[in-house]
């Protein structure tokens, strides 16, 4: 069943932060000249006095945000992932993460689909980088329903946050009554053959991949992880226990992102085979969205194929490492 069309998460960001600021005078938005692209322009229109243009200078933008936090504001920094993380990492680490200041970093243009920009603007390691910082929470919502709630939760909580947003419109995964909880993973589907773990809007494609797999007789559990840090260890372990086989899928590098986080959790708590799907150890390129998703093996069809191939090709002996899972398979 096709999911309904939804908004790009950058639009949800602009709308939600603007609305929250109507009631919360602490909120200010810092823009690094990305306003029309990131959704921050909406905030400027509604709250011009609290829209702080910082120019094309991300290191300083993150530093100014830290200073604003010390006098009681809730600075929301808006920019592209490649610049706010890639360019300004030192400011984030020393001025925001280490002092645990209440700065919210909202990164638009994450992952592969950044509007035919090519590799300079395609940041595949922002999750890996940001989750490596102690005391920073890392969020990657899947759709407009979850993003709106994740933004509210992030503003309500104290401390530094990193939020992944997206450029392209994506389908609505969750019903209106859905409740996002910080730190909690969400089971989208139950199945005994394999456990698929995903995050961000890629969870929508993984959800669709699970439907394709179901039609081919493979029953997959799908666990969506909107809070990558602090990670929901219990839910990941519980989901892994059901099938004994875990595949992580993300619109990020397979080095250090969600796949890394899940592998860390499972190696410590419940060692089972983990296959990490996502951007391999490579850079991106320009191209149409569908072509990119297929080439970098993130479309629902290709994910389903890769999961099936892995399940088929795995040496049978590996199952012995996990008796419960082997029994069910």
């Amino acid at each position: 069943m096709a999911l309904p069309a939804g908004k790009a998460l950058r639009v949800v960001f602009g709308e939600t932060v603007t609305e929250l600021a109507d009631r919360d005078p602490r909120i200010v938005v810092l823009d690094g000249d990305g306003g029309p692209s990131t959704g921050a322009a909406m905030f400027e229109a509604a709250h011009p006095d609290r829209f702080l243009q910082m120019g094309i200078a991300e290191q300083n933008m993150l530093g100014v945000a830290a200073g604003l936090a010390t006098v009681g504001f809730v600075p929301v920094v808006s920019g592209f992932a490649c610049f706010v993380v890639g360019r300004a990492f030192d400011s984030i680490r020393v001025l925001i993460a280490q002092p645990r200041l209440n700065v919210k970093i909202a990164a638009g243009y994450t992952g592969l689909l950044t509007g035919r920009t090519g590799k300079t603007h395609q940041m595949f390691d922002d999750i890996a980088i940001m989750r490596s910082l102690p005391d920073v929470s890392v969020l990657a919502p899947a759709d407009e329903v979850e993003a709106a709630q994740a933004i509210r939760a992030m503003i309500a909580a104290d401390g530094p946050f990193y939020l992944q947003l997206t450029r392209e419109a994506s389908p609505v995964l969750f019903p209106a009554g859905y409740r996002f909880e910080l730190g909690r993973a969400v089971r989208l589907r139950d199945g005994c053959d394999v456990t698929l773990v995903s995050t961000g809007v890629q969870s929508v494609r993984v959800h669709e991949a699970a439907e394709i797999l179901a039609r081919r007789g493979v029953a997959a559990t799908v666990l969506h992880v909107p809070t990558i840090k602090p990670i929901d260890t219990d839910s990941i372990v519980a989901a892994a226990q059901e099938s004994g086989l875990v595949v992580t899928v993300e619109e990020q590098s397979v080095l250090g992102g969600l796949g890394g986080a899940v592998a860390e959790v499972l190696s410590g708590h419940y060692p089972v085979p983990v296959k990490r799907l996502g951007i391999q150890d490579t850079y991106g390129e320009s191209g149409a969205n569908d072509a990119l998703l297929d080439k970098y093996r993130l479309s629902a069809r290709v994910v389903a194929e890769d999961v099936e191939t892995w399940l088929r090709q795995r040496p049978a002996g590996q199952l012995l490492t996990h008796p419960e899972g082997a029994g069910k398979r």
Binding site: V28, D49, R50, L52, M54, G55, A57, Q59, N60, L62, G63, V64, A65, A66, G67, L68, A69, T70, V71, G72, F73, P75, D90, S91, V94, L95, Q98, P99, R100
Partner: protein, 289 residues
Amino acid sequence: MSEITPGIPELEAKARQLRRETVKAIARAKAGHLGGPLSAADILTALYFRVLDIRPDQPDWPDRDRFILSKGHSCIALYVVLALRGYFPLAEVATFDQIDSRLQGHPDMTALPGLDMSSGSLGLGFSAGVGVALGAKLARRTFKTFVMVGDGECNEGIIWEGAHVAHRYGLDNLIVIVDQNRLQQFGWRLDGAGQRRPPYDGDELRDRWASFGWAVSEVDGHDIAAVVAALEQARAVAGRPAALIAHTVKGKGVSFMEDDFRWHARVPTDEELAAALAELGDPAQVVEA
């Protein structure tokens, strides 16, 4: 402000004491920096004993003036001045750089009350100071934000990113003090001499701040009376941020450390410590050390 405003002779005595405690702390810790703390000592004394509106017994007082030591590697001098001003006992300076100490090798605002910002990666403290001053403007609060940077630190691009934004927002509640001691850790070679080329030649750095639209003034950074007056003037600037270029000498106060880049982060031997303390006055301190 303390109830009794100290006069210039008292401030000079405080600055000498600050230098003595700084040299002793570095010798004791066998680590840290000396050249930069000694060049900044008179300015820090002027700030903490005369210029800043602060309450040492209430370090988080919301309306206090802020001070950020962006050249965070000079923090031993800041720790000593905070102790002398009553933020914590002077004896705690002995823990500098030791395990579990609140006095970290670079300022950590999560460890020590009285630090208005963590710093250590050069240029960042200044950028945060722009944010503090901008926040004060937005919240219509009247405190001032003072930031000390080094001239070598001004190599960092973030300084000029922040300088642009501070001017654009008319942050006349922001005062940057450039501790222009004309040396950095290593810097550029100067042919035929044991010295180094300064990070900026002549008036280059002053002109640079001016070109960013800042109200620039200059002072002898070791003339405490002049420093106090210059800081008060900078504080009164309206409509734009102020930069005070303080002409200083790296290692000031100890003849064999002065103007020698090798004392940026060198630990004195026992003999050098004794010689330094002898130069810095107060025989009682020398005996005690």
